[in-house]
Symmetry: C2
Subunit: 519 residues, 2 copies
């Protein structure tokens, strides 16, 4: 293993660098000493390549964010880096105008979709920072990105980091004179013209180069686990050397630490674990004696279905995304509820996403990745038949993830759902509740009825043996992921008719409420 030469300024953790007027005061005079470029760069590059292979072996990802003034040389840096990095393990994501499907989702959706699988390196040529400025920041007279945007960014990065990945963030800095020169050189390039996206806020990145605003953004998103590095790119050679150095030191440091700092996080959860055990089951409050007869059920069902049909039309017209989550005991009747719900809807506007064991490709990503990428576009309804809550239910009980992982999941899920809701989504979460005796009756029915036989497997019986463990997992889930904006609805489902009506009524009133809010 070669080590990084100490010839130039060595990488400093950026949080010590961040201060007011940081960019304006930045020293841009750094140059690689004449005639020494090759002898400095070559060992750095060899080390970078070696480190990237090392990261790959550990099965974690490196996410490189490239931001900077317009014309600061992001493309040129990437062109230098690409031959060094293993092309089989690296992908560049140029971020420009979102396409029409992307525009119909929350801002982070397209970044989730582009996350590298484990072992891969992603280079974002512009990123959620530029996207935040262009898509969310509307106050040209203010000098600050709104706190909620900053929070979203930090939450997003925290999700990736707590999953064990490494994020490296670079801001390429050049002087005004140099910028003018470079912009002139590239003014005819269609790839620059592609940056129409940036033009919308070109004052910030170009004309008056809004130092105050960029300073503020960098400072507020300069987290210990995902610090910014300002790159002096006045000389491309110097800038490139600084990037290699930073990459190497950061990756070395991260590899030494082991698993991306997960250890610290474990501690904070101990208290909550204790608290949980004291609690009596919230589920016991559900009144399972409620029921409807068939004669009562039929006309009520028909009435709500008609109402839901009209509501879907409104949802579609008003561009509202809707997410409906079904969780519940085995044989609680999720499938039956989903059929009654879906019958109301035009298939052009909804989809059912059945969630089972993640496939191998999904396993190569953050566990929320497969859900993010399935969220509905505006005006559309996605019904999840089981969901991300598997993390704190089956994965917890069966030990498919570590305790730290499922403990962390409550917070991660709350953050994700909050983002969905702020993006305008109607989110409805159902726990279909039956008691143990009712489940046994249904299992036996399935077992003995030849047409339902395929529905029951040995796994169902095995899960049933763990009823108590699942019960406490469910209680914890409901308590810790019930927020004012994303509450759970526990459906007493011992009576199938009652359960279905309760589900449809809940959806009906949630949609009515949202449509009223909008109008």
């Amino acid at each position: 293993m070669t080590t990084t030469p100490a010839l130039l300024k060595i990488f400093k953790p950026c949080n010590t660098l961040m201060r007011d007027n940081m960019l304006e005061a930045f020293d841009l005079t750094g140059r690689v000493p004449k005639g020494q470029y090759s002898s400095i760069v070559e060992p750095l590059e060899a080390r970078t390549a070696e480190l990237q292979r090392e990261v790959r072996k550990r099965g974690k990802s490196v996410i490189i964010v490239m931001e900077g003034w317009r014309g600061s040389g992001i493309t040129r840096i990437i062109n230098l880096l690409q031959p060094v990095l293993d092309p089989r393990g690296t992908r560049v994501h140029p971020i420009a105008e979102p396409n029409d499907i992307e525009r119909d989702h929350g801002m982070f959706w397209r970044f989730w979709a582009r996350l590298p699988s484990y072992g891969q390196t992603a280079i974002f040529d512009r990123s959620w920072y530029t996207a935040t400025i262009v898509e969310r920041y509307n106050g040209d007279s203010m000098k600050e990105i709104p706190a909620s945007c900053i929070e979203d960014i930090n939450n997003f990065e925290a999700q990736l980091i707590s999953d064990g990945n490494l994020i490296l963030k670079f801001f390429l800095h050049i002087s005004k004179e140099e910028q003018k020169k470079r912009l002139n050189d590239i003014k005819d390039s269609p790839f620059t013209m592609q940056a129409r996206y940036l033009h919308r806020k070109e004052g910030i990145y170009m004309v008056n180069r809004d130092f105050e605003m960029i300073d503020h953004m960098l400072m507020k998103t300069d987290m210990p686990s995902s610090p910014w590095t300002i790159i002096e790119a006045e000389s491309m050679k110097y800038g490139y050397v600084r990037i290699l150095q930073t990459f190497n030191s950061a990756v070395e440091c991260w590899l030494e630490k082991g698993d991306g700092g997960q250890k610290e996080q474990n501690q904070t959860f101990l208290l909550k674990s204790v608290e949980e055990s004291e609690e009596s089951s919230l589920l016991q409050k559900a009144d399972l004696t409620k029921s409807y007869t068939r004669a009562e059920y039929k006309p009520i069902l028909q009435g709500i279905q008609e109402s839901l049909r009209d509501l879907q039309v409104e949802v579609y017209k008003q561009n509202i995304p809707v997410v409906i989550v079904f969780e519940g005991w085995d044989a609680a009747g999720k499938g039956g509820c989903i059929i009654r719900l879906a019958e109301s809807f035009n298939p052009r506007g909804y989809v059912v996403e059945p969630i089972g064991v993640p496939n191998d490709w999904e396993k190569m990503h953050h566990y929320l990745w497969r859900f993010y990428t399935r969220f509905p576009r505006k005006g559309h309804i996605t019904i999840f038949d089981r969901s991300w809550y598997g993390r704190v239910l089956v994965e917890r009980v069966e030990g498919f993830c570590s305790e730290a992982e499922w403990q962390r999941a409550y917070h991660e899920i709350n953050v994700m759902e909050d983002e969905l809701i702020r993006d305008g989504t109607v989110l409805i979460k159902f726990w279909l509740h039956i008691d143990k005796d009712e489940q046994l009756r249904r299992f036996n029915d399935r077992q003995s009825n030849i047409e339902k036989n395929w529905k029951i497997t040995d796994e169902d019986w095995r899960n049933r043996e763990k009823w108590d463990q699942y019960e406490s997992a469910v209680s914890a889930m409901i308590r810790r992921t019930t927020t004012s904006r994303a509450p759970w609805t526990v459906i007493p489902a011992n009576s199938k008719y009652y359960g279905r009506i309760a589900v449809l009524e809940t959806v009906e009133s949630a949609l009515q409420k949202k449509i009223k809010e909008i109008k």
Copy 2:
């Protein structure tokens, strides 16, 4: 197992039905006998559900195509079918206006992307038929879809069928009076308004209901292995029963046959196999003594790279998609060529797709699926580091697919490439050729050089032992997939410098040629 009741007309293979004026002469008076609907439908539905589970077990897909006049009730039929089919195994794909990414690809790209994974059922609510009419058929005065479009459709379906899947195609037929009534009922639905897509050719589906044109289209695409069924949908109940019947008979018949008729296909390949063995290696013609010195190489390289830089700009401006395929012996220098090529390009306009073993999700699809979905959008360049030719190289030699499968692949690949080219793509295919001694030299070099050590694995040595088998696979590949529009370029690469220049020059002249054609 229940059997399909013979109460109504039994499913007839549609090719016997197809004739001129078929639609106009069609009997639309069929009705379900009064009071018997439930007793007819319920056993049919149970059987449909059972058959779908059976298909799933076999690991093949069912693709249901729903076409018909505007207002003929596609949505209603799907709403009836959905609760019958397993929601975990079924997905509806409403086909409307392509989004901007889809519009930047060939017409079939979005259908490839939506193909179900093995075991799943896909219902296309409108399909490549409507897309062909709307996107390609421009002659309202003609009465026929152009032969090339018909050929594309038949090729597409043949690819799916020879992979073992089942395609069911329905055309929903109603009378003019009934259509008028229904269109009036749904005129305010936004899901109908979404069908702006159809409006473009509304004469065909609505106003004058172009019988001649639709007849022609149905007839020309009514293949023995993917026949059309005209559904009399004047009565929805009757139409639905007909669809269930057709589904059940077709699936039963297909399950009996075993593997979607692959057997017939095997025979036709025997002759070609013989032919192949007689042939001397085309590779031997490559002059491996050609070389450049470093002093010659450097300035030539620089010159071409500059030219390629400008050409990429043109490609981007002219909206030309470019696909560059690299195949070659292990250690032939593919990586080095790709780096030199990519150095010329702006990373915003190209991507390298390294192709390895397919992941589990990819394995759940047609082997070409993972390539189709990676094809570039207009103006972009995709460089494949290995490719679909793996099917007839490593998969053939290592026995990862059956002989029938790789034998069939030559034709399938030619069809796919031809489609690419007709969609305007520049396709360049390289075989990097070195001799056995040169490979040994390079392997030994990698083995002994600590910085290159990671590049060589036991697998490389194992592959080398099968040099002769690979050589005949390569020869067959080149011979059988060299077409006038998609020829192979064999690059003599014993001299790395010579090889790289030859590659870059080939790309240069191919791009120049295309740009000239367009201008």
